[in-house]
């Protein structure tokens, strides 16, 4: 099936406690057993932590009709510093498309916006790694396909990691370079 032509979206910064953030917490996602309520738990716990105590940023994305069709998050952190020589790097903790607006190419637009933001961030400080990471459950094939289309490469698809806190469900780490080749 051909990919839908992406509709331009307007990114708008938000933060925990704001109306847009409360709205995205009401979305009903079809859960897999192993990540039951995981999006909500991330929105309740991890993202507020990242905004308050790290460098976490949150955007909602509006379509031309003003609907909030998705959200994305980005942090500058050291989750994968073993791969960056101890340098801070960009990391996507979570993104999602509003279940009522899926299959319209919005996921790709959101990922591309987050990658571009990571490119812009990586230009500034000298001790910042030019790598952007994310992690995804191996069973979440739809997400893996999306990230791959956006240029992410799986680092451990043949040896997924296990998360005992989430029923040992295997997950993989994906990365993309945020440095642009010189002309």
């Amino acid at each position: 099936m051909p990919s839908p032509t992406p509709i331009p979206l307007v990114p708008i910064r938000t933060a925990p406690g704001e109306d847009d953030y409360q709205f995205i917490q009401t979305w009903q996602f079809a859960d897999q057993p192993f990540y039951e309520g995981q999006v909500k738990r991330l929105l309740q716990n991890d993202i507020p932590y990242r905004v308050l105590f790290s460098f976490g940023l949150v955007w909602t994305y509006r379509d031309p009709d003003g609907n909030i069709v998705g959200f994305g998050t980005l942090d500058a952190c050291k989750e994968y510093e073993q791969f960056t020589g101890g340098k801070t790097h960009s990391y996507i903790p979570l993104l999602a498309v509003n279940p009522a607006f899926q299959k319209r190419g919005h996921g790709r637009t959101i990922v591309e916006h987050l990658v571009a933001e990571a490119v812009l961030i990586a230009q500034s400080p000298a001790d910042f790694s030019g790598l952007l990471f994310l992690d995804v459950y191996a069973a979440n094939q739809g997400a893996i396909t999306l990230y791959t289309k956006c240029g992410f490469v799986s680092l451990n698809s043949d040896s997924p990691l296990l998360d005992p806190q989430e029923n040992n469900e295997p997950y993989i780490v994906m990365a993309i370079r945020t440095a642009v080749k010189p002309e």
């Binding site: 738990r41 308050l52 791969f83 812009l120 230009q123 451990n156 945020t178």
Partner: protein, 177 residues
């Protein structure tokens, strides 16, 4: 910065911070002999406290330590204390700035005041992360394998550009175009 983030260590850190604030407010020693120096000293102490708060929160988030309500109470109380005093110093600084000269550290002090205002207003107690990345460590063997793949990652192509108009404008500015 405290070497560990348990209650006694954090208490020692905040007690020391409070004492340095008190000495500064009383104009003791040469560090805070005028308003300019006082402002700069507050900026430094704000920075130290923020680093400690962030390190403690990260240690909980990454499962290196257990959450301790008492530690949180101590850090929040210290944050409120320094914020209250800093607002008074900043007000003095603004008044002086209007009258005679510009105070170099005033912008930085206002930045920290806004930061701590936001932090205290929106405070959430840190908890162990839901996502695995902050908590889990990979084995050396897997790490080496992943590093090999990372080395082969290509850069973005030379004609890459952001599609979002605002990002594109910033991108061009960064490249001096």
């Amino acid at each position: 910065m405290p070497a560990t983030l348990d209650l006694p260590a954090v208490r020692r850190f905040t007690d020391d911070l409070t004492e340095r604030l008190r000495r500064c407010d009383n104009g003791e020693g040469s560090i805070c002999s005028n308003l300019d120096q006082m402002i700069n000293h507050y900026v430094q102490l704000f920075g130290e406290l923020r680093t400690c708060v962030n390190d403690w929160a990260r240690s909980v988030f990454t499962s290196r330590i257990e959450f301790d309500q008492e530690v949180e109470n101590v850090l929040k109380a210290e944050s409120r204390y320094i914020l209250r005093r800093a607002k008074q110093i900043a007000a003095q600084g603004r008044a002086m700035g209007e009258e005679c000269f510009a105070l170099e550290g005033l912008n930085a002090l206002h930045f920290h005041i806004a930061d701590f205002d936001y932090l205290l207003e929106n405070w959430v107690s840190p908890r162990r992360s839901v996502s695995p990345a902050p908590r889990l460590r990979t084995s050396t063997e897997v790490e080496l394998h992943m590093l090999e793949r990372l080395k082969r990652l290509p850069m973005l192509s030379s004609d890459w550009k952001p599609t979002d108009p605002e990002q594109f404008a910033f991108f061009k500015k960064q490249r001096g175009e």
